[in-house]
């Protein structure tokens, strides 16, 4: 794949048409079957390519290296262990047992909203994040961003000291400076003071700011959250005349429609809604609704991948779609249906009938990146269908002050330009990078005489400020935060700040002249007053233990839909077809770029695109063909006067004539990992086109930018890997679309293992997997998996023990999307075991396929012989053995691997042994559910089950008996321990185009 060459789209279409109903396909490259691609695959394992980079190696060179490595390996084996020291406490804290982790309930504030977590602490060092089952936004699940928070805590690039114009200063110097500044401001009633924050839901911070503003009435507090919810607010205003939050109860929904709403992937509530939707699907039947999911979206999302029916529409057409649908639901929306939707008329009709037939148990959700009109229409439809009060509820706003943040930022910039701002304090935000380009924040900043930035990193904004104050990471800070439903929880620290980090509470306290008060004191005092209960200490301790403050969720309240909502809608958005559309989206993991310096997140393949370490201009195959663009070709994208150059990446499932770009890349000052990775697309983001717009032009260049896409790595050959069925077919007893899968023979040359005790096994339910990669991130955190970097990913050497394969099913322009997580299968007759010359991979008495690092000499025969491609080899010293701060974050129960060693999924054997020893101490046997693997624990979709197959009452055994259960590549006779439950879809019978059968 050395030069740019567009795909022959017609040939691909013909191919797919000729093999209608054939197996799902992995990627365009695979489909096209180009010689370069075949060569890439046939290199047997691309990740096993020549270990020496660059020029070729001759025989003499090889001999030299072998002699040297023999000598060095021999000498290296002669080291004696260095002397180690035991350092006990001077006074040991109560209840702390050395070697036993302690879990603390805290909350992670992501984009202003809290998700409850349990943080695992080993000897006072947070090492792992799990979800808090008692927290409404988590219900025990976590996403990739939360999993990676530990790495963020130990990031050595986090800003460490207070600086003034680049010089290191003590905190006291800042306090002294501010005393003078604030004294001057007090005289002017704060007229020159401006504070900029992200969305604030923290009750303590809000009350601090309110008190400060009461004291200084002329001062202003602005909010700017780059992932903001301005459209949701404006939509609520249109529909109800007041800003109201909207919440869904997906468990009870019969039909769910997402209007470009990634309800399952959004950080604030995605975990909760995924759990609910999956529970509905599991409990379906016997009168319980299943929740048929329709998704209309321009760019494939996790929600879209789980959909029973997915319609790729351009972003601008979703508005017209909502209007057309609303009309069919009896809402008098003026005007006629948009002619561009004529081709989808049957789809819309069927959807409308399905919605009406659901008896009010429906949810219509509008996406954050859709204009207010779509939100208002979604509200109107929910009301018209009678969903409000059943599956949809409204509540008072969760943010302390829900405002139009883009307007708020704009008015701040106006004040700055006009010279009305003397002091600007920016708390935990990076407006220079994230603000809409047309606001020219950097220029406006130059007119402010005193600029103070408080943030985790010395970032783009910090570079333009006089003072920079390091922010404390949430794992080392006292604070509080509200969840999507208003539930307040306390953010409690697990470790004293590693550096000189301070919280926003500390900074505001300095402004208020209360610099002596700690965040702990401020948060506690706030709640003592807010709760006003006599036994506050008990309530406080319970809140710290449980991770939620009881009774703080916003109660559902009635909302009166305006009668004239349909006529008050702004005119429909243009759906002109003669122009390309730009769609801007936050990156699924880096969000607006705040996590750009997190290697785990950079290397985590993006859901559905499988791209790592980059963003790209994502196009549909048809669009690329029309424009004659090839993968990895750099193009110049222009919208108005703004220009951005980005590489092309073709993704089936993207709406035609729509180009999606992810925010969060191209950071100029992110740190050693994130700086300069990807393309900064902020230039295209203006107030008028916050989430994209029409009128994009593309000018191809002849340059090429390599994209590290992992989809074709570790490729398993052909065959029927993802099995699909429908609810209807399942009811008829057809578990799979094609019954003739299982091999008819079951012989082996080897004697079977007896397994007298336990027999561990795993089942992964593909019907609920949303492909969010939380499992991969959790595995990385639990098992000390290394980050390898883009160059090594390009060579197929990523180390993640678990990968989520993506498959397309059906036509090129509108395929169904399938996921398949693939960890080690722990085969009964494992091909890897028999080829290891040093017995470094062996079978355990409980069926685990053990990988013994200290025996491994790195022949890589095992990986060669693995049909599932789940083994990972340390070609280099990938793990960072030197950075002190990283050492604190590693899991002490798992070996840190060095170079030259093979590794792979262990079924989290450290957790198995821990459960075994605990059971032993309690004088019992291991119960079903005692052992929860890291991937299983993180999974919001409950798609992974682990347990003892010898115990017929265990959940894993029950899933094994499920008719949908099948083994991957069963025809090879490997008898894998990890099996799958096939995908189930519930297509609307009225929509003839049945995708899944």
């Amino acid at each position: 794949m050395s030069q740019l060459r567009p795909f022959d789209l017609e040939a691909l279409r013909r191919h797919l048409a000729a093999e209608a109903g054939a197996a799902p396909w992995r990627s365009l490259d695979e489909l096209a079957g180009r010689p370069e691609f075949i060569e890439f695959l046939n290199a047997e394992f691309p990740q096993q390519a020549l270990a020496l980079d660059g020029e070729g190696v001759d025989r003499r060179h090889v001999l030299k290296l072998m002699a040297a490595s023999l000598a060095l390996a021999g000498l290296g084996g002669c080291t004696r262990q260095p002397e180690e020291r035991l350092v006990p406490f001077v006074r040991q804290p109560e209840h702390r047992v050395p070697g036993k982790p302690v879990y603390y309930a805290t909350s992670a504030p992501i984009a202003g909203f809290g998700v409850g977590v349990l943080a695992e602490s080993h000897e006072g060092r947070p090492t792992k994040i799990e979800g808090n089952p008692d927290h409404p936004a988590s219900l025990g699940a976590t996403d990739a961003v939360l999993q990676a928070a530990v790495l963020g805590l130990y990031d050595p690039d986090r800003s460490q000291v207070v600086t003034q114009l680049g010089d290191i200063r003590p905190w006291s110097a800042f306090v002294a400076t501010m005393e003078g500044v604030m004294a001057a401001q007090r005289e002017r009633r704060g007229a020159g003071l401006r504070i900029l924050t992200g969305t604030v839901t923290s009750p303590t911070l809000a009350s601090q700011l309110t008190a400060l503003l009461a004291e200084l009435p002329e001062a202003r507090w602005h909010q700017w959250e780059p992932l903001g919810r301005d459209a949701a607010r404006a939509g609520a205003l249109l529909a109800f005349g007041e800003p109201l939050e909207t919440r869904y109860r997906l468990e009870q929904a019969r039909v769910v429609l997402s209007l470009d709403a990634d309800i399952l992937g959004a950080p604030a509530h995605g975990l909760r809604y995924t759990r609910e939707l999956v529970r509905a699907r599991r409990g379906a039947g016997a009168g319980n609704p299943r929740g048929r999911l329709y998704v209309v979206e321009p760019f494939p999302s996790c929600t879209g991948a789980l959909a029973d029916h997915r319609l790729p529409l351009r972003r601008c057409e979703v508005d017209a779609f909502a209007r057309a649908l609303a009309r069919r639901l009896g809402i008098a929306v003026p005007g006629a249906d948009d002619p561009t939707l004529a081709r989808h008329a049957a789809w819309i009709d069927a959807l409308a009938r399905d919605l009406r037939a659901a008896g009010g148990e429906v949810v219509v959700a509008a996406g954050e990146q859709q204009p207010p009109a779509v939100h208002a229409l979604a509200h109107a439809m929910n009301h018209a269908l009678g969903a409000v009060g059943r599956t949809v509820e409204h509540a008072a706003p969760v943010p302390a002050r829900w405002e139009d943040e883009a307007a708020s930022l704009a008015s701040l910039v106006e004040d700055m330009q006009a010279g009305r701002v003397d002091v600007l304090v920016m708390l935990g935000c990076n407006p220079v990078f994230t603000a809409p380009a047309d606001l020219r924040v950097a220029d406006a900043l130059a007119k402010v005489p005193l600029r103070i930035h408080h943030g985790l990193y010395d970032d783009e904004t910090a570079a333009l400020c006089h003072w920079h104050l390091p922010e404390a990471h949430f794992l080392e800070a006292w604070s509080d935060v509200r969840a999507y439903d208003g539930t307040a929880s306390v953010v409690q620290p697990l470790i004293a700040p590693l550096y000189e980090g301070r919280t926003a509470h500390d900074v505001v306290a300095v402004l208020a002249g209360q610099s002596g008060r700690s965040s702990h004191e401020l948060v506690r005092e706030h709640w003592r007053q807010a709760l006003g209960v006599p036994d506050f200490e008990i309530v406080w301790q319970r809140a710290l233990r449980d991770g939620v403050i009881e009774g703080t969720s916003q109660p559902a309240r009635s909302a009166v839909l305006r009668g004239d909502v349909a006529t008050r809608l702004p005119p429909p958005a243009s759906t002109a077809t003669d122009t390309l559309e730009l769609v801007l989206r936050p990156d699924p993991y880096l969000l607006d770029g705040r996590f750009a310096n997190n290697g785990w997140l950079q290397e985590l393949p993006r859901p559905l695109t499988k791209v790592t370490w980059d963003n790209a201009a994502y196009l549909a195959p048809a669009t690329a063909a029309r424009l004659g663009l090839a993968n990895e070709q750099v193009v110049e994208l222009a919208l108005g006067d703004a220009r951005v150059e980005a590489p092309v990446w073709i993704v089936p499932g993207v709406a035609a004539e729509s180009v999606t770009l992810h925010l969060g890349y191209g950071r100029r000052r992110a740190g050693r990992v994130g700086t300069g990775i990807g393309v900064d697309v902020q230039a295209l983001r203006t107030r008028g086109a916050l989430w994209g717009g029409l009128g994009l032009t593309i000018r191809p260049t002849r340059r090429r930018h390599r994209i590290a896409c992992t989809q074709d790595h570790f490729s398993m050959e052909g065959r029927d890997l993802v099995r699909r069925t429908t609810v209807a077919a399942l009811a008829d007893g057809a578990a799979h679309d094609d019954g003739a899968h299982e091999p008819t023979w079951n012989e082996s040359l080897y004697d079977p293992y007896p397994y007298e005790g336990h027999r561990w096994g795993m089942v992964i339910d593909l019907a609920t997997c949303i492909g969010c990669n939380a499992c991969v991130a959790a595995c990385t955190a639990e098992n000390n998996v290394a980050v390898v970097g883009k160059d090594q990913v390009l060579r197929g050497r990523e180390m993640q023990w678990l990968r989520v394969d993506r498959y397309f099913d059906g036509p090129l322009d509108d395929p169904a999307l399938l996921h398949q997580p693939v960890p080690c299968m722990h085969c009964e007759t494992a091909p890897c075991e028999v080829v290891c010359p040093v017995n470094a991979t062996v079978h355990s008495s409980e069926g685990l396929n053990e990988m013994v690092y200290n025996r491994c000499v790195g022949t890589r025969y095992c990986s060669n012989n693995c049909p599932y491609k789940v083994r990972r080899f340390n070609f280099y010293l990938f793990q960072d053995w030197n950075t002190e701060s990283y050492k604190l974050g590693r899991n002490p129960d798992v070996t840190v691997r060095s170079r030259g060693v093979m590794e792979k999924c262990t079924y989290c054997v450290q957790r198995i042994e821990e459960a075994r020893i605990t059971a032993m101490q309690e004088g019992r046997t291991i119960r079903d559910g005692d052992i929860v693997t890291a991937c299983q624990q993180a999974c919001p979709a409950d798609a992974i089950v682990f347990g003892d197959l010898n115990d017929p009452s265990s959940k894993v055994a029950a899933w094994h008996r499920d008719p949908r259960n099948y083994s991957l590549l069963a025809e090879l006779g490997t008898r894998p321990r990890t099996t799958y439950l096939g995908v189930v879809r519930d297509p609307n019978p009225a929509l003839a185009k049945d995708r899944t059968a």
């Binding site: 262990q81 002397e83 006990p88 047992v97 036993k100 008495s845 690092y853 025996r855």
Partner: protein, 215 residues
């Protein structure tokens, strides 16, 4: 022309051939011996500690239970090294002026931890769990030797894998009743039946899977 090789050469060649073989065997044997020697294993090498603490005095002569200091041994992977405060429980009352104890008092005064030298130091890829062993009838003495007779602590066992496996393959001879775990003087009865009985009672099975210790 005289013969180049005289008959005695036969002997010489035999000697050198067998000598070379013997030399190689000797070399390998020496290597094996060296690998098991205290030079490599550090077995029986007493370590200098920051405080001249005597287990013989405390555990032996005074009869203080192991768990008074090693508090986590029954619940955690690690037995636990006592905090300075544990020493000061007694030594704020007795031997308060002893110069030997100055490092302990200094630690207590300055809040700086004592830094003991680790004697039983397993490689980082080995995961040993104390609680799993003491709860199943393996006494302290089995691995740590007669600590009550050691002034300075040394490693009583080689800690090599063959030594671990010896017991993991046949745990019965090393089992004792739970009451006797911390008893330094307990001697097993001549009858091997006790071990088998305890193994049944405590659910001890031979565990030699690699993942038992290596993860």
């Amino acid at each position: 022309m005289p013969q180049i090789f005289r008959p005695s050469t036969n002997t010489l060649s035999r000697v050198s051939i067998f000598g070379a073989l013997a030399f190689i065997a000797l070399f390998l044997w020496l290597l094996a011996v060296l690998n098991r020697s205290a030079y490599v294993t550090q077995q029986a090498v007493a370590r200098q500690q920051p405080v001249q603490f005597s287990h013989k005095h405390h555990a032996g002569e005074l009869g203080i239970d192991c768990r008074y200091c090693h508090t986590a041994v029954e619940t955690s992977a690690r037995a636990g090294i006592p905090p300075t405060a544990t020493c000061m429980n007694c030594h704020s009352q007795i031997w308060v002026d002893a110069p030997f104890l100055e490092p302990v008092r200094a630690s207590y005064r300055t809040d700086e931890s004592l830094r003991w030298v680790k004697v039983y130091d397993l490689p980082d890829f080995v995961f040993f769990n104390h609680s799993a062993h003491v709860s199943r009838g393996v006494g302290c003495v089995s691995c740590h030797g007669r600590v009550d007779q050691m002034n300075q602590i040394w490693q009583a066992s080689s800690l090599q894998m063959e030594w671990c496996l010896e017991c993991h393959r046949h745990p019965e001879p090393n089992l004792r009743p739970r009451e006797a775990i911390y008893d330094m003087d307990w001697t097993p009865p001549a009858d091997p039946e006790l071990g088998r009985k305890l193994a049944r009672e405590y659910g001890v099975v031979s565990r030699t899977d690699c993942y038992t210790c290596h993860r």
